[in-house]
């Protein structure tokens, strides 16, 4: 039993604390019925794999099975606390329908098989494609839920073994804009701030970040500050009246697709009132003049009109930001999955740059992640960049990577940016990608415009490999299904949204013949017989610890330096923030504390893009703009969204997350408490819109868009008028009727931010009506 009923009490009791004090500990735990802390056989070190917060915990093992979890009191991230998903979802490891044997296609069926047969088919197909069509015919689509060692191995195989440019993660859906915004402003990925900034801030600004539901323990930290002495003011930007909005000092609810206009308006006021740290701007940044010229076009009257936000609230919000002495801003999907995502997220960085609010306690930016290991997808190079935040457009970086791997430089594709997911899908649609290997993600539910996604995956000419722990909706399209081990069944590291690295150790055996993702990738490499320049097997490592050691060498000297952060230190000390090298053996709490950035032309990860068109800049442009590697203030003009409501589809539709579920519910839907807390999809509608359509709480409705149609019960809520919200978690594996009428992504548009390539799940149009025959 858990220490609290986390369904009715998701955030637990307050432990108030004042500005600058240490967050008090509170240990949360949950054990299987009949198991007590004393009767547990072993406690095994780990952290949560159900969101990006990185809550440190120990796994309880009883009789060879996982029997619960307990928060780690000594860890910097959670100080013992756990959120509802942490407390319950460990039970999903033991779900009766785990994949335990490889499956192979036999006509229109998937049949149980063995590893030799399954891997044999993949290898045969790979070799044939390599011989006939070349490395560009093979693509990999991975996740934000494997471990660092696994991403690094997959990256080495794809880029250094096969030599394909087509490798991306589903982190494209959750965190690509965070990375892009950081690269645009600071020349390199890497979270500037730290969770401890919550302890010091006097203003918290949350942009499209419903932290109460996405990172419940970080929200507890904020609630505890709010309940203590000198509470921070909270600014919430969200079209929904979320728990954050309800607790906020000020809530702005802009129309979907107008975030950039809103931020330009806030910056207009900040500059107009000269709430600017001119010394900081002069010494540490370039581009201020361009910003000043751009935001002059966004006076509050105009912005109020574009965003549908009262002018008074805009001025008040700007005054909050302008008056802050220690400002912490956080950004998530409300910005990342919306129109002009990168441009809007960059303006949040700009607020900090013009105000000189970076690198000291309480003054920081958290461009958040969605998934637990998204940070590692990015660091390892499985998400559209090269390993260790190397720059694909910098030949010296490519040479360095080739030397590290001991493979020919020309084998690592670098004639263009690594292919992003949506382009990869297009190549599959056109038939130039013929093998798509999907690991740990469920595109048949999580990608936009699902009817199109199904058409692509269904093609006979496309050989689909699915590597997962459950038989997902995507697995039904597979030619081969590989059963993977998961959290608690394998050892590896992962890094949360504030650069805290945790080691997660194997506690129990995987079920049946399931194998850790690392083992699967290495098995493939051996069977493909990839070799390095000396004829030795590539990659040369053979298990998690040797893969990690190789990664430590790959990261050495790069911004995400793990070179002094071995397994032994992680076992001894728990969560540690990178960079952790000989100069910073205890890790680094805040980046850019000295106003120095990873932005020098020879060192930076990216030369940047046009924020509106997405066109990459060349090295010469970058070096001319920023020869000394300062932070870059980049301005952008607002453009109207590509799809807006009209007579036929009169609502904006936004999709999103809910507290008790994660992604496509593969684990949370198999956890009784979480499943039963939110068993069915719903649609949120405002009071006024509900009344106008004859809808009350619980009315069955039909939602349509130019792409499709779903059915959902109405929830009348505090969402702004003209906007509908549907959670994206619900697919079809536990929906028996065979109709495609449940997943939010039946409705969503295929469109993405041109700079970050992140799909837009929060800027499309839809219609809604009560279902016929409904009361």
């Amino acid at each position: 039993m858990p220490t609290r009923d986390a369904i009715s009490d998701p955030w637990g009791a307050r432990t108030p604390y004042g500005q600058g004090e240490q967050w008090p500990a509170r240990v949360d735990a949950s054990l299987a019925d009949g198991v007590t802390a004393e009767s547990v056989d072993r406690w095994v070190r780990s952290a949560s794999l159900l969101h990006s917060n990185g809550d440190a915990l120990d796994i309880a093992v009883k009789d060879g099975r996982i029997a619960g979890v307990r928060g780690r009191e000594d860890d910097r991230v959670n100080r013992g606390r756990l959120d509802p998903k942490d407390l319950y979802a460990w039970q999903a490891n033991d779900a009766a329908d785990r994949l335990t044997r490889p499956l192979v296609r036999d006509g229109d069926r998937l049949v149980e098989s063995d590893w030799d047969t399954a891997m044999g088919r993949i290898v045969e197909h790979s070799k044939e494609l390599l011989a006939q069509r070349g490395p560009g015919s093979i693509g990999f689509y991975t996740t934000g839920q494997l471990f660092l060692e696994e991403y690094y191995t997959l990256t080495a195989i794809a880029r250094g073994g096969i030599g394909t440019n087509h490798l991306d993660g589903n982190t494209r859906l959750c965190t690509a804009t965070a990375a892009e915004a950081l690269k645009e402003s600071f020349g390199c990925d890497g979270q500037p701030g730290s969770y401890t900034d919550v302890d010091h801030a006097d203003v918290l600004a949350l942009y499209g970040h419903n932290v109460a539901e996405t990172q419940g323990v970080l929200w507890q930290r904020m609630l505890d500050r709010a309940a203590g002495a000198d509470p921070p003011a909270i600014l919430c930007v969200d079209p929904r009246r979320t728990p954050v909005a309800r607790a906020a000092t000020l809530h702005l609810a802009p129309l979907p697709g107008t975030n950039l206009a809103l931020l330009n308006g806030l910056l207009h006021e900040i500059l107009e009132h000269d709430w600017v740290d001119h010394d900081y701007v002069r010494e540490h940044t370039v581009g201020f003049a361009e910003l000043a010229e751009r935001v002059r076009q966004y006076p509050p009257e105009r912005v109020a009109r574009i965003c549908g936000v009262p002018e008074r609230d805009l001025r008040e919000a700007a005054a909050l930001l302008g008056g802050a002495e220690r400002l912490l801003s956080t950004v998530l999907q409300g910005f990342y999955q919306s129109h002009q995502a990168s441009a809007a997220a960059v303006q949040v960085n700009n607020v900090h740059l013009v105000r000189g609010m970076l690198g000291r306690p309480g003054a920081g930016v958290l461009q958040m992640n969605g998934q637990p290991t998204a940070q590692n997808t990015r660091e390892c190079g499985a998400n559209g960049d090269l390993t260790g935040f190397r720059n694909w457009a910098n030949d010296a970086h490519v040479r360095d990577l080739a030397r590290l791997w001991n493979v020919p430089e020309e084998r690592i594709p670098h004639y263009g940016p690594p292919t992003h997911l949506m382009q990869l899908l297009r190549y599959a649609e056109q038939g130039s990608i013929r093998l798509l290997w999907i690991s740990g993600t469920n595109p048949a539910v999580s990608l936009p415009e699902l009817s199109r996604v199904r058409e692509i995956l269904r093609q006979r000419r496309l050989f689909v490999v699915v590597q997962d722990i459950f038989r997902t909706e995507t697995a039904e399209f597979a030619d081969v299904v590989l059963p993977a081990a998961t959290w608690g069944e394998k050892t590896g590291t992962f890094t949360n949204a504030d650069r805290t690295v945790h080691l997660s150790e194997r506690a129990v055996d995987p079920p049946g013949d399931a194998v850790a993702d690392l083992g699967i990738f290495l098995d493939y490499a051996r069977r493909m017989d990839f070799r390095d320049n000396d004829g030795e097997p590539f990659p040369p490592w053979h298990d998690a610890e040797s893969a990690y050691a190789a990664w430590q060498r790959a990261s050495k000297g790069r911004p995400c330096d793990y070179s002094a952060l071995g397994y032994d230190k992680l076992r001894e000390l728990g969560g540690i923030q990178w960079p952790c090298d000989d100069e910073h053996p205890d890790g680094t709490e805040r980046l850019y504390a000295d106003g120095r950035f990873f932005a020098a032309p020879d060192y930076c990860e990216d030369y940047g893009k046009d924020l509106v068109t997405g066109a990459p800049l060349e090295r010469s442009d970058y070096a001319a703009l920023n020869p000394h590697g300062k932070a870059m203030i980049k301005a952008a003009e607002y453009l109207p969204a590509h799809e807006t409501p009209d007579a036929e589809f009169p609502f904006f539709l936004i999709t999103g997350r809910t507290l008790v579920h994660f992604h496509t519910r593969t684990k949370t839907g198999r956890t009784p408490e979480l499943r039963d807390a939110e068993p069915e999809v719903w649609v949120e509608i405002s009071r006024a819109d509900a009344a106008a359509h004859g809808i009350t709480d619980g009315t069955p409705t039909v939602l349509t868009s130019p792409r499709g149609r779903i059915r959902a019960r109405a929830r009348v809520s505090g969402i702004r008028d003209g906007v509908l919200f549907v959670p994206f978690h619900y697919g079809y594996w536990d929906d028996a009727d065979g109709e495609h009428d449940r997943a939010a992504n039946e409705l969503t548009i295929t469109d993405w931010d041109p700079a970050s390539k992140q799909p837009l799940f929060k800027t499309g149009a839809a219609a809604l009506r009560p279902e016929e025959g409904a009361p």
Binding site: G136, G614, W752, P754
Partner: protein
């Protein structure tokens, strides 16, 4: 006014570019980034046209009459490239944009020589957007061509 010919030329080439961007977006609706960004970029050209027309009117020049009557833009002259016409169209678009860029350059140069500060400011304001369009078409060619040319 000596700069009339270049204004007329610019109006013609910018009209043609706006139409080319709209055509590209329509023709390649399944290339979603091309489709959406081309429409955003067409809007820039259309704003330029409106401003050009207003500028012309103040100078007694009815530019609307200079709209292109020639062949439809993006009529493929050389459709040997793979990719369902996408590379061919992007290549042609790139040339269209380059033409418009040259015309803005000519206007700016003429305006300087004629000490026409209004036209010079106008060109300095609009030309950067044309250069961003040009960078975009070049980038799309660069990013998409490796796969399309080798598959």
């Amino acid at each position: 006014m000596t700069l009339r010919p270049v204004l007329r030329q610019l109006y013609r080439s910018e009209s043609s570019l706006a139409a080319a961007l709209r055509t590209l977006a329509r023709r390649h609706a399944a290339e979603h980034e091309v489709h959406h960004v081309a429409r955003d970029l067409a809007r820039w050209s259309e704003e330029h046209l409106a401003e050009l027309a207003a500028t012309g009117e103040r100078r007694g020049l009815r530019l609307g009459e200079a709209a292109p009557t020639g062949p439809h833009p993006l009529v493929a002259r050389d459709d040997q490239l793979p990719g369902d016409g996408l590379l061919t169209d992007l290549r042609e678009l790139h040339r269209e944009i380059a033409g418009v860029s040259v015309d803005w350059e000519l206007l700016a140069q003429g305006a300087q020589a004629a000490r026409d500060s209004e036209l010079l400011q106008f060109a300095s304001r609009c030309h950067p957007r044309t250069l961003r369009q040009l960078r975009w078409s070049n980038a799309m060619l660069k990013v998409l061509s490796p796969q399309l040319l080798t598959s």
